[in-house]
């Protein structure tokens, strides 16, 4: 089922929870709605589910406007953060509830519940009650309940946030695989960019009710269109430094105090075409900063070293700015030492300080 949102708005009083959202989700696609809390992603999901009525705009399933349809007429399955299991029913009754409402014959119902429960690995828990299950098991029941009616669309509302880290990693893989196997169009709401990156085929980044970017994880990571997206995607986050952008006889330069860096010709020209102001924001990811004992693009003082296991995250300071670098562990410096930093010019990003748009995008 293809989902299309057109100029979708949802206002709560004067608060614009979702504002003029345009989004197209292809059949069998797995799309993540990513953003900080309160950005409107869950509101969007609940509008697709039919729980909230849009203030304006359209929701189309396979071209048909479904704005007026009740949740039960939309053939969707949804998994909630709180699992939303019915505590007074057994696991079997929980999973069977959608079928029971459709008056499915008993024999068919039992078969289908057993099949989907086996698929989720909870086939032997059917006569328990939700309170007798672990968080991970409850999660599986919730997924099974969403799947049992063979929905055309699956909606996930932060389904993994209540699980511990290890289980989350595991369910992440399982849900992704399940979606691939079943080929059900899925929308997945999360504030965890790692979840969105690892699971979704495309990510819609939202902030303050507005769509910030929509693209594949790779696109958003390598070529973020806005400062917000660049800062939100990637962990540890991208470094941002205010620098001066100048054009000289022998090329384009970024400068700040003693620091001067010559931009690759192509990037410089792109920035000029995009009308870069004199002051721009330079962005560079920690993994694109190399730490060298001598030389480098700039000299900076080690402020703090945070070992992450495989790598050390080192925070440097220069000219009142902070810059983080991922260094292969173990890093042999100490706080206070001065090291050289080499920035990977090919991976530099430039942003307009006011519009916050990328200066390296091609029209």
């Amino acid at each position: 089922m293809e989902i299309r949102l057109e100029k979708l708005c949802k206002y709560f009083g004067k608060v614009k929870a979702v504002d003029k959202l345009d989004l197209e989700i292809k059949d069998r696609e797995f799309v993540a709605l990513l953003g900080p809390s309160g950005c409107g992603k869950t509101t969007t999901l609940l509008m697709i589910a039919g729980i909230y009525r849009p203030t304006s705009g359209y929701i189309r399933f396979d071209g048909q406007v479904v704005n007026h349809l009740l949740p039960k007429e939309r053939n969707i399955g949804m998994v909630f953060q709180s699992y939303a299991l019915y505590p007074h029913m057994t696991v079997f009754d929980n999973i069977a509830y959608p079928l029971r409402l459709k008056r499915t014959p008993k024999r068919v119902m039992r078969e289908r519940v057993q099949r989907v429960a086996d698929m989720m690995g909870i086939g032997d828990l059917l006569d328990r009650r939700p309170a007798q299950l672990s968080g991970g098991q409850q999660q599986r029941v919730a997924v099974a309940r969403a799947l049992v009616k063979e929905p055309a669309i699956l909606l996930f509302d932060e389904p993994l946030s209540n699980l511990d880290a290890k289980l989350r990693l595991r369910m992440r893989g399982e849900i992704k695989r399940l979606q691939e196997d079943l080929g059900i169009t899925s929308v997945y709401v999360t504030h965890d960019q790692v979840e969105a990156m690892t699971m979704a085929s495309r990510i819609a980044v939202m902030n303050k009710g507005l769509l910030q970017a929509y693209g594949t994880p790779e696109q958003l990571y390598e070529r973020p269109d806005t400062l917000f997206v660049a800062g939100f995607i990637g962990a540890p986050p991208m470094n941002f430094i205010q620098v001066t952008f100048t054009k000289k006889d022998d090329g384009y330069f970024l400068e700040k105090g003693s620091f001067s860096l010559r931009l690759p010709e192509e990037k410089g020209r792109l920035a000029e075409e995009n009308q870069a102001p004199p002051q721009v924001i330079m962005g560079i990811r920690p993994e694109d900063v190399r730490v060298v004992p001598e030389g480098g693009d700039l000299r900076a003082e080690v402020y703090v070293i945070e070992p992450l296991g495989r790598e050390d995250l080192v925070t440097f300071r220069f000219d009142d700015e902070e810059i983080r670098a991922l260094v292969p562990a173990p890093f042999r410096g100490r706080s206070g030492d001065v090291w050289g930093l080499e920035l990977n010019r090919e991976k530099l990003h430039l942003f307009h300080p006011e519009t916050q748009c990328s200066l390296l995008r091609r029209e």
Binding site: L46, A49, G50, I51, L70, P71, K72, R74, I76, G77, M78, F80, Q81, S82, A84, L85, Y86, P87, H88, Y97, P98, L101, K102, R145, K149
Partner: protein, 301 residues
């Protein structure tokens, strides 16, 4: 010496709590024991019986006031029916209204909530006379007024009428309590049921109501006891202690009159008789009763 000190240190708090609780409880307990002894005695001197007898309980097997006054069993049945009707209606209406107030948006919702709170605090005594006229008016309606078997009807001097008035006074409280319980149910559960294919009514009946059983139980018990012990309203809106629709709290009055000496021992017996179901209720349902204040969150407009 050391062990004694540590013993005191560990136990002085619970000990103090027990002492503080026992003193007032003792006062009440002595009252009940007195009542019990009195009901089985010819005369008493304090807690001491001056002769044991079952005479005070004879109202159970004979009619001490002649055939014109309904028997204790008729009166008990009246009380039971009145309490049940009131409980059923209060729980039913409160569940529906509480759900709507907790979950739905409609114009005047906040006003309605404040109004119920005001009504809850309203001194009901001041309304007795207007209600009396309302009941007289209802009585004139054919059938509904006074033509229904068993409960009489819903007009003046009927069980239904008394239940109706009691219910009206109990509803604001019931609605607030139920709203508190509904407020505690997660939205996600309801949304999930809607997506699973349930209608709003089915969500309420199949998903929400089973999850507030403690609330329903607590409110039922509370309403039932309120009705069972009610005195003022039955007194005002029935023809009184000797009437066809007398209730237990009025029946006691038969033993108290100006012309004959009051049979205090019989009064004690009737009082105990009325108390029996209440005590049984409390023994089996105190947990649910406590729920009304702890489980159900009151407030939150």
């Amino acid at each position: 010496m050391k062990t004694k000190a540590s013993w005191l240190k560990r136990w002085w708090r619970p000990l103090l709590a027990y002492v503080i609780l026992i003193i007032p409880s003792l006062v009440i307990a002595v009252g009940y024991v007195w009542l019990l002894i009195t009901s089985f005695s010819t005369r008493t001197e304090g807690l001491r019986s001056l002769g044991w007898t079952l005479q005070n309980w004879r109202f159970l097997w004979e009619s001490p006031f002649g055939p014109r006054v309904p028997s204790i069993w008729q009166v008990t049945l009246n009380t039971l029916i009145m309490s049940l009707i009131m409980t059923l209606i209060v729980v039913g209406v409160s569940s529906l209204a509480g759900y709507a107030l907790a979950r739905m948006k409609f114009p005047g919702r906040k006003g309605f909530l404040s109004l119920t709170l005001i009504l809850h605090a309203f001194p009901s005594v001041t309304l007795l006379i207007p209600i009396y006229f309302v009941l007289l008016w209802i009585q004139k309606i054919p059938l509904i007024g006074s033509g229904i078997p068993l409960i009489g009807g819903f007009g003046y001097n009927t069980i239904g009428g008394v239940a109706l008035v009691m219910m009206a006074f109990q509803l604001p409280f019931g609605i607030w309590v139920m709203k508190g319980f509904f407020d505690n149910i997660s939205w996600d559960m309801e949304r999930s049921a809607l997506i699973d294919g349930a209608s709003r009514f089915k969500v309420w009946w199949q998903i929400v109501m089973p999850n507030i059983k403690p609330g329903i139980a607590a409110l039922s018990i509370f309403s039932f006891l309120t009705a069972w012990n009610a005195y003022l309203i039955p007194l005002t809106f029935t023809s009184g202690r000797a009437g066809r629709f007398s209730v237990l709290s009025l029946y006691v009055q038969n033993f108290i009159s100006e012309s004959v000496m009051t049979e205090w021992n019989a009064v004690a017996a009737v009082g105990l008789f009325q108390l029996i179901p209440v005590v049984l209720f409390f023994l089996f349902t105190q947990e649910a009763l406590l729920n009304i204040y702890s489980g159900g969150r009151k407030g939150g407009v």
